[in-house]
Symmetry: C2
């Protein structure tokens, strides 16, 4: 699953083709306004609500696109990935849609609900205790499976970009777009679209300060690897940046900012209590950056935060009563 050499960047045409291919299978998710959160951050704030996407996160956009591009031979053999999170369920769902089968190597410590969800969508889950990557390589080679990288793949990036096409259709007056950043797949696709069609829009990535591999990679100019990456926003705790994603971010993204853990928790709770939408912590980092003041809305402008998913661990809700 090591990144290929970077070829050309994904184009707006590639994103349009991806959007066409996945249309009717993934959902067009709504844009939701919040008067109280707008008042809190100082100006108009709206959200792209990807918690209503299939499997509860944006990940299916890129995964389905990738699988629809497989050869018949690849499709017959199946695909494999490593994931503890939303990519696992998304790949399983997409495999069923694309007429192939998905194997997902997950850590034995993964949240039980995520393991169950992956199985419920028809994925074969292999739980690994030790070296996930060794298990993954062994399964891949034994079964002749096609590897699917959760973010560092031009077809995946093009699929994620479909979200920005929807956004532009609904909110052409956008000023700032805040995008959660883990490995950088989502923001890569979004930035290609926005900076090509509306170059004045500010595309801002937000990553946890405790899992800031993209900020570090931008600073050094090369793909960095963190010894470990942990965050309450578990969906963003990628220890490594992608080769493809770094190239797109360097070219198209205005800036990437870091947010603290406490702000992420506060932002997650605020989204739940004020919008009545279930967002996972990874989805709340855009609001967290606004709360910290690292990003400021334009006076009179429209800031849009992408709520990338809603697979919140709800086991703590109503505990302690």
């Amino acid at each position: 699953m090591a990144g290929d050499a970077v070829g050309d960047l994904v184009t707006i045409d590639a994103v349009r083709q991806a959007a066409h291919r996945i249309r009717g299978r993934v959902k067009v998710t709504p844009v939701v306004a919040s008067a109280s959160l707008s008042a809190m951050v100082g100006d108009r704030l709206e959200f792209k609500a990807e918690m209503f996407q299939q499997t509860g996160s944006f990940k299916v956009r890129g995964m389905l696109h990738k699988l629809l591009r497989l050869t018949p031979q690849q499709r017959a053999r199946g695909v494999v990935t490593v994931s503890a999170g939303n990519a696992a369920a998304a790949l399983a769902w997409a495999a069923r849609q694309a007429g192939t089968s998905a194997t997902v190597v997950m850590p034995a410590t993964a949240v039980p609900a995520k393991i169950e969800a992956t199985r419920a969508y028809g994925g074969e889950v292999i739980l690994a205790d030790g070296d996930l990557f060794a298990t993954y390589e062994a399964v891949r080679d034994e079964r002749g499976l096609t590897p699917v990288h959760p973010f560092d793949d031009p077809d995946v990036i093009a699929g994620q970009g479909s979200l920005a096409l929807e956004l532009l259709a609904e909110r052409p007056e956008l000023d700032i777009v805040l995008v959660p950043v883990g490995g950088g797949g989502l923001i890569s696709g979004i930035a290609v679209v926005l900076k090509t069609l509306l170059p004045d829009v500010q595309v801002v990535g937000v990553e946890p300060a405790t899992a800031d591999v993209v900020s570090r990679s931008l600073a050094s100019g090369t793909v960095e690897r963190l010894p470990s990456a942990r965050s309450v926003a578990d969906g963003l705790a990628a220890p490594v940046c992608g080769v493809h994603t770094l190239a797109h971010i360097q070219r198209y993204v205005d800036r990437v900012v870091r947010v603290g853990e406490e702000s992420i928790v506060e932002a997650t709770r605020l989204i739940l209590s004020r919008t009545k939408l279930v967002a996972e912590p990874a989805a709340a980092v855009g609001l967290a950056a606004l709360l910290e003041g690292t990003v400021r809305p334009y006076p009179g402008g429209l800031t849009l935060a992408v709520l990338s998913g809603g697979n919140l661990d709800v086991s703590t809700v109503l505990s302690g009563r």
Copy 2:
């Protein structure tokens, strides 16, 4: 705040007038489907999403209607109620809409978020340590305030009924409607509408087994009072049934069932994780009854559960990490 003698029951015309009076101020909330919860309970299940209502609960429907019916003299002096929950914020919001002022006597032990919300909507909160009712009576008499009962009032019942008019417009093919029951105001208004216009619809009330004052009142045929009423569904823990509401429930409601605390917690979590909507425990009792099997969907039919509010205590979310 003792109930008046019961006069005539609220009519469908009274509900229509109420809906007309409050139109444009309260929201028309969406009906939301859930494929996975439908599969779980055995047939088509949809939700009326009142968490998106003003102040996060249906309560504003009845409260606003009540306040719009005040005399100019009453409006000039203001209104008062006792509440620890959604009625407090709803009355404060409605008072501002109706051009009057609201005083709410709340227990000092109320959830801080509920106290803050009531103040944020412009309500004056008086925190009482001891006898809430004594404080309430003193404030009412000193200031000449008009008392507003949170549920046992024909104008409030008529306002709550507006929800059912929306429902019929959107889902005329309804078979079963599940309505959370605390003091009975919401189900009274809904049942008048549904049983008048679509007598074959089953209107089923659901209350916590640990706060089952309406079930007991139906059994005895008179308004009962519980020595105490506690439930994880705090919004339904009314210790007393209303005089007006009991009369409406006796006349119009098919049956009222009880659900256990564990089922309420499970249902709340399922709604969050499957629909990505924030429902409070009180709102989840309909699904809880389906999970327990006390209510069974008709084969091929449409069951609709009213999600009465979304003011969940989110302070426990992401704790324990």
